[in-house]
């Protein structure tokens, strides 16, 4: 897969420079990891929106299911954490299967139906207490293991894990978008009938995008639970796991691959480091205002804005 020089430099900086420079600052590292968790969901959410043409308010269900599946597998069967994380993603895909009927709904009806589904999973996690621990939740969920003497459960280790997960997502997203499925999905946006009559099974393709998006979100949920080591239904299925990513994705540009990640890191860090200290309560209001400004001045989000800017610079040079 093609990676530009700038891309390689950013990846190298992310793996080496960030831990070296910021690694000793636990507070900043934890903010960065939190922003990357939001970024992972934002990327998965934007994939569904961009390729599948669907706006979901239900991604907290995938996040929560991924977290519960991975936590329970490691706790009850002793499965290694990384294997359980992948199965957490699979669990989220299974959860998305029950949402398939709503794929036929359009626009706001789809968004509302998927929101309702998300709530169902929270109720299950609360009521099925013999397995999930009910509303008291699960404590001491296993941490990330040691790898060749390096403890991955620390801030730096966790950061490297989520970084790797996000890079894998970016690679997968790029591969899907460039594939024949990706081209057909792009075509379906504005010309669904024309695309269907040449043999594209639009329902199947949308379902596949839902699965991919659910899988990614489930893996992020699983990462998070092993990172923080506890879980309860209100937390795991909190609406924040979908609203923050939506803000991040739209802010960064949901039609681009990197936009949601850049948006998440920018929005989260700016909010926590600057606005929160300026306006301790109600600082989210500033985010809302920023989002509105972005939608008005650059509907495509931050990424097109950055790119336009660099193009102008190239032209001037």
């Amino acid at each position: 897969m093609y990676v530009s020089k700038t891309g390689l430099a950013v990846i190298a900086a992310a793996y080496i420079a960030v831990p070296l420079v910021l690694g000793s600052n636990n507070y900043v590292m934890s903010l960065i990891v939190a922003s990357m968790i939001i970024g992972g969901i934002a990327l998965a959410w934007a994939l569904l929106g961009n390729l599948g043409g669907m706006v979901s308010f239900g991604h907290s269900a995938f996040f929560g299911v991924g977290a519960y599946v991975s936590a329970l597998l490691t706790m009850k069967t002793g499965m290694p954490v990384f294997a359980a994380m992948l199965l957490g993603g699979v669990g989220a895909v299974v959860a998305s299967l029950v949402m398939l009927p709503v794929l036929r709904l359009k626009g706001p009806y789809f968004a509302l139906a998927i929101l309702a589904y998300a709530h169902i999973f929270k109720i299950i996690a609360t009521e099925w207490s013999s397995v999930t621990g009910g509303s008291a939740g699960l404590a001491s969920v296993p941490r990330f293991p040691e790898l060749m003497g390096f403890d991955l459960s620390g801030k730096i280790g966790s950061y490297l894990i989520i970084l790797t997960v996000l890079l894998a997502f970016v690679a997968a997203y790029r591969a899907i978008r460039a594939s024949h499925y990706g081209i057909a999905l792009r075509a379906m946006h504005d010309s669904e009938d024309a695309t269907r009559v040449v043999g594209v099974n639009s329902t199947l393709l949308k379902a596949l995008m839902l699965f991919v998006s659910a899988f990614m979100t489930g893996v992020v949920g699983a990462f998070n639970v092993h990172y923080i080591n506890f879980l309860e239904p209100d937390y795991a299925f909190s609406g924040l796991w979908v609203t923050l990513p939506i803000v991040a994705a739209i802010f960064g540009g949901y039609r681009t691959i990197l936009g949601p990640l850049v948006g998440a890191v920018t929005v989260y860090l700016v909010d926590q480091l600057i606005f929160k200290s300026l306006i301790p309560s109600g600082h989210q209001l500033v985010l809302g205002a920023l989002l509105v400004a972005m939608i008005i001045f650059s509907p495509g989000g931050l990424m097109p804005l950055l790119r336009k800017d660099s193009r102008r610079k190239h032209a001037a040079a």
Partner: protein, 237 residues
Amino acid sequence: MLRLEDLSVRFGGLTAVNTVSLSVGSHEVVGLVGPNGAGKTTLFNAVSGLVKPSSGRILFDSVDMLRTPLHRRARMGIGRTFQVPQPMHELTVRENLIVAQRFGTGAVDARKIDEVLDFTDLTDKAERHAATELALTELKALEVAKALATNPKLLMLDEVLAGLETNGKRRFMGMLKELHEKFAVGILIIEHDIETISNLCHRVAVLNFGELIADGTPDEVFRDPEVMKSYTGASDA
């Protein structure tokens, strides 16, 4: 190859297609004519699966199309064009054909795509953005090209010649004639111009208010006073 048996399509109180029985043989070129609103496009939509018939049957190679999902009909060999060209948005001309071929046949064959591009005179425009950078003639050619890329046995053409100026029309006619031989397809074509139909078609079917009022050779059909009445009535309107 295609057989419609007592096909009806109703939209609420409106019967757009009314108990039509019609067939198209595997190498036949059949014209479908009739005034605006007669139900011609709706008949195409029923065959390609975009609207659900209210009653009757659609058989393609003896397979019941009403039990065949829309997306599988292209694989079976049903290709069509849209009256108002519908290029796949966001894609280049070539990508339009790649999607049509990949999903309509199950495989990608770049040589065949080049051949279709060449045949439809779109080679120069292959990398252009289909929805925004094509002239009307090219959009109509792309409609035909997309259908050809799915390797059809039956090609349903919905007013592909309408709106073209005389030269473009003549070239397009030549292409349609050649296409019938080269790609060995049966054709069902909606067209208003009597001369064009007589020139191209082995048979003509006439729809009026959703009903089939004539079906025969162009000579027979265009001599029928009832047909000519519906015809002149429509073109005066």
